[in-house]
Amino acid sequence: MSLAAHVVVRRGSLELDVQLAVADGEVLAVLGPNGAGKSTVLRVLAGLLPPDGGRVVVDGDQVWDSPEEHRPAHERSLGMVFQDHLLFPHLSVTDNVAFGLRTRGVRRTDARATAGDWLARVGLTGLGDRRPGQLSGGQAQRAALARALVGEPRVLLLDEPLSALDARTRLTVRAELHRHLTDYTGSAVLVTHDPVDAMALATRVVVVEDGRVVQAGTPAEVARRPRTDYVARLVGLVLLAGTAAGTTVELDGGGAVAVAEDVAGPVFVAVRPESVALYLSRPAGSPRNVWPLRLVAATPHGSVVRCDLAGEVALTADITATSFAELGLAPGAGVWASVKASEVAVYPR
């Protein structure tokens, strides 16, 4: 384990208590809604905010934070990329990238040469003499990445590095960031509220809500088996909690769902909206999961219409625009919803 942290911060209404462990070469995504405290975690790891408790230890023996000591940011071997890049506006791009080397005593010419190499690695050859204000958003974020990596830090911290970019730029920069993170040998922590960033860039994900870790695992695990409504919504699933007996799950909110596996005890049931079928009358063939529901809202979502349904079971169904038109549904209308037992994921709570 190269970065092990237990971060405790109490600040106003925020009660943060989060444990993280990141191995060498690993990229940990901290995923969570705004205000969950994920940026605060990053500021503590960076040494910009002394925590109220816990420890931050690097390589097992370098103590960065503990109840006894607080090592300030400038004495930590780290690089940080900020959402809005924070390149120094009064320095050229090359001098920005060279900054971290100069503060650590590298001679000016050597620092500028290394900075030039890094600018080439992030695809900014020839732009070193510009001011940050003369760069596009994507170029600025690439320069910021080079500035963070140039000192070969033990820990790389990325605070929403892609969220200030427009959609098209985000796609390219995300791909490049993935490449650089793959090459990076230290421990990286990525804070984001965008599940796509987390899935694309991270080797492991922790989900933080209200200052607590509510779920941890590989991106695939988190995407397949969400444990909170927030995560389920992010990955596009409907999450239902209940108690299983045999192949039936009695939902906490009333109603029951039939599942294909034999399970017992408290479980989560995850339903993909595209596996939910809608009918105007009770479907024939008596499938086991059929509920008479009411349409609450319908919103176009790409090529499908997302239908929010209420009733015995709160569900979301994604159906094609054609089907939606054929059903002729208006909000408040009654509708039968069905889902195959084999399409329902069930896992212990």
């Binding site: 040494g47 940011a73 400038h74 930590r76 120094f88 971290g100 503060t103 000192g151 911290l157």
Partner: protein, 259 residues
């Protein structure tokens, strides 16, 4: 525009501009050359420029760190400190001069000790002029720089810290360049204020031609004997003030926070 606002506004403009116009109208334009060439005039002008510049230098060396403490530190009693620092802004300068005299004069709390140790007495020297001017003018610089520091994005300092810069390096290489326009604007204001200083200077430093008689003192004393000469000297100060104003309006200062 409503008359209750327009009429007083026009009167206000006239009130501020007419005296300056009067100065220009009454100016003995043909005599300006000879008047300026008189002994004492050049001396007073040179003394004014030198002492105002030295006072600005003193203010920069002490005032910029002070502004940083006010804007960035977590010090307790910061608001009290800020109030104390701004007292010279509202204090009648002549009172400032008296206060300086009581502290730094030969019988003063610090001055007596200084005199006994070195045989040097500060009042009535050019050094006293510089100190009196700095005392009155430094708050202008502090307020201006503190405003610029508050307006500057402190997260740049966080970024510098994550790049291995301690607070002193961060201040030199990031904070100071970011607030440079504010520092320059503050320095110009401070210099202009020091150049016009009268009350504290005459009280603490006296009025000795060549050592402590600055332009404002020269104007005042000349007015009693030779009004024409006083007008010429006033014109010179007016010219310097207008030049300062132009400098302040220059674009690279305009970016800074002139608060």
């Amino acid at each position: 525009m409503p008359a209750p606002l327009l009429v007083p506004a026009l009167l206000g403009v006239a009130f501020l501009v007419l005296p300056l116009l009067g100065l220009l109208v009454r100016a003995p334009w043909s005599e300006i050359g000879p008047q300026l060439a008189r002994p004492g005039v050049g001396e007073a002008l040179r003394l004014s420029l030198v002492s105002a510049t030295l006072a600005t230098a003193v203010s920069l060396v002490l005032g910029v760190p002070l502004a940083w403490v006010l804007a960035r530190s977590q010090l307790r009693g910061r608001s009290v400190l800020r109030a104390l620092v701004t007292v010279p802004l509202v204090l009648p300068p002549v009172v400032g001069g008296v206060a300086l005299f009581l502290v730094l004069g030969r019988q003063g709390i610090v001055g007596r000790w200084l005199f006994e140790a070195t045989g040097f007495s500060l009042p009535f020297t050019t050094g006293a002029v510089v100190i009196a001017e700095a005392f009155v003018a430094m708050p202008f610089l502090v307020i201006s720089v503190e405003g610029a520091l508050r307006a500057a994005d402190a997260r740049f300092e966080d970024a510098a810290a994550t790049l291995g810069a301690d607070r002193w390096t961060t201040f030199r290489r990031v904070t100071l360049p970011l607030v440079a326009p504010g520092v320059a604007a503050g320095a110009v204001l401070c210099w202009a204020r020091a150049l016009g200083e009268f009350g504290a200077t005459i009280t603490f430093a006296g009025n000795f031609p060549g050592t402590t008689q600055t332009m404002p003192l020269a104007v005042y004393l000349t007015l009693q004997r030779e009004p024409e000469a006083a007008i010429v000297l006033s014109l010179v100060l007016l010219g310097v003030s207008l030049a300062t104003l132009l400098l302040l309006r220059d674009r690279w200062l305009g970016r800074g926070a002139v608060t």
